[in-house]
């Protein structure tokens, strides 16, 4: 047997053995019991899709939360999750989608509130198994806000005239200043969203609906008040939340890991919001072009009520 042949055989055996080790490790990670608590940080406004720059996508989106929770669910060694929430709230449907994910998550979830977890931030928290806030955390704001922008002045300033043709009586609701009838329609939508918010809080926090109605004025509460009102379970920070999660999951001496948000793909870097292409375009065509595009988007977008 030649030297080359011996080397070839040794390498082949080494590769096969290594593959067995690597595949076994993956299987073990997925199925063998462990004692890990995952900490997931959710920061920023709640949005349907991500905003922000190329290297720091901002905001809490259903897609981001789904990816992080699926990662935690797949890993058999993770027994519970601590969600660090720092959010002023945001889009209603996105909040509801995230809330459903938290409610349906198969492992324990403890929310640890930062400086602020208000409105939508509180809405998603209400689905967790436990909420922990600092004494000085600002939370609550159980309410819905709807703002209609009248952009006529801006269009006039830009020298843009708008022609609107509609099929359907109220299709141009947001084009002209609100009439009394349309204001009523939007009030009903806002009230319904508010009712959904209150029912969710009552269900999630196991509070009587009548009690939640009294709290749900949109008022802000500081952590200590929120505890008295039953909106949070405990006062404390990250470590208190980790201890609580470990206790809920029956884990002793937990190993804490941080689950990081997904890395933006190469396409996001070039073509995503705030991507390189966007920066180059702004440089070449000037800020006015970008502003005009923003105005076009504004005109093509409905105002939406928000948590």
């Amino acid at each position: 047997m030649t030297k080359n042949k011996i080397i070839g055989i040794i390498v082949a055996v080494l590769i096969v053995l290594s593959l067995v080790v690597v595949v076994w490790a993956d299987v073990e990670r997925a199925f063998i019991p462990g004692n890990r608590i995952a900490v997931v940080s959710l920061t920023g406004p709640i949005m349907g899709s991500s905003g922000g720059g190329i290297l720091a996508p901002a905001g809490i989106t259903p897609d981001l939360v789904r990816r992080l929770l699926e990662q935690a669910e797949r890993d058999g060694s993770i027994k519970a999750v601590v969600l660090r929430i720092e959010s002023p709230g945001g889009a209603i449907a996105a909040s509801q989608e995230i809330g459903d994910m938290i409610r349906d998550f198969e492992k324990y979830i403890v929310v640890s509130m930062g400086d602020m977890a208000t409105s939508g931030g509180y809405y998603i928290s209400a689905h967790a198994d436990m909420i922990i806030a600092q004494p000085g955390t600002i939370t609550g704001s159980i309410g819905v806000i709807f703002q209609h922008l009248n952009v006529d002045g801006l269009l006039e300033k830009l020298g843009i005239e708008r022609e609107t043709i509609t099929g359907g009586e109220h299709k141009d609701m947001f084009v002209t200043p609100l009439t009394a009838e349309r204001r009523d329609i939007l009030q009903q939508i806002t009230d319904e969203a508010h009712d959904q918010f209150m029912r969710t809080v009552a269900g999630g926090r196991d509070l009587p609906l009548s009690e939640v109605r009294e709290l749900a004025t949109g008022e802000l509460f500081i952590g200590t008040q929120a505890l008295d009102l039953g909106l949070v379970d405990l006062l404390g920070g990250r470590q208190v939340a980790i201890d609580a999660a470990a206790e809920l999951a029956g884990v002793q001496d937990p190993v804490v890991i941080e689950l990081a948000p997904p890395v933006p793909s190469i396409w996001d870097l070039f073509l995503g919001g705030g991507g390189i292409l966007e920066i180059v375009r702004a440089r070449l065509l000037g800020e006015e072009f970008i502003m005009l595009r923003e105005v076009r988007e504004l005109l093509n977008t409905y105002s939406l009520p928000r948590f």
Partner: protein, 189 residues
């Protein structure tokens, strides 16, 4: 192949110059394709798990599909890069065949199979990540040297010209593709 595949594989690792020269001359296309596929499968299984793909923002697809996808990508990349190298080498006065370079480059990628032991080393506590990272850097350099050798031996050109072709031809290709894409997106948006 005269020497048999195991001996050739050992030869690429132990006596790369003479072995790659012989591969470029004999052009064992079938074995070259098998080597590319095996290296793709081994390195994909070693480094990629579905969770990693999820984190990278790729859709949640099954492992066999991931392996097939990466194998196809690697094969297409090799075919295209070989064409670029062939064109650049011809311009710089090299005399060799596309098939010879394809086979030489395929076998030059052989160090990629060491992704498996490196991934296994990466599982070691504390030093695993560092050792694995250093090892990955090492096999990257090794494959780079073998790739340059494949160009030099196939076209019988100087090492300097081979380095020039290996390093700059893909950059030129990337710039051209990027400019075309940039213009397309720029015009569409």
């Amino acid at each position: 192949m005269g020497k048999g595949i195991i001996e050739t594989l050992g030869g690429v690792l132990a006596r790369p110059i003479s072995t790659i020269r012989s591969i470029c001359e004999q052009r064992p296309i079938g074995w070259a394709i098998i080597v590319v596929l095996v290296v793709s499968v081994v390195s994909t299984v070693a480094w990629i798990d579905p969770g990693m793909l999820e984190e990278l923002g790729l859709p949640d697809i099954s492992m066999p599909a991931i392996v097939a996808l990466f194998s196809i990508i690697n094969m297409v990349t090799l075919l295209v890069l070989t064409a670029v190298y062939h064109l650049a080498a011809s311009v710089l006065g090299g005399r060799g065949t596309y098939g010879g370079l394809f086979c030489g480059s395929a076998f030059a990628g052989l160090p990629g199979i060491f992704a498996a032991p490196l991934a296994a080393i990466g599982l070691l506590p504390i030093v695993g990540g560092l050792l694995s990272g250093l090892g990955t850097f090492g096999i990257g350099l090794w494959a780079l040297v073998l790739g340059i050798l494949a160009i030099r031996e196939n076209y019988l050109i100087s090492t300097g010209r081979a380095i020039l072709i290996y390093l700059f031809a893909p950059v030129v290709l990337f710039v051209v593709v990027f400019l075309v894409m940039f213009l397309m997106f720029f015009l569409v948006n």
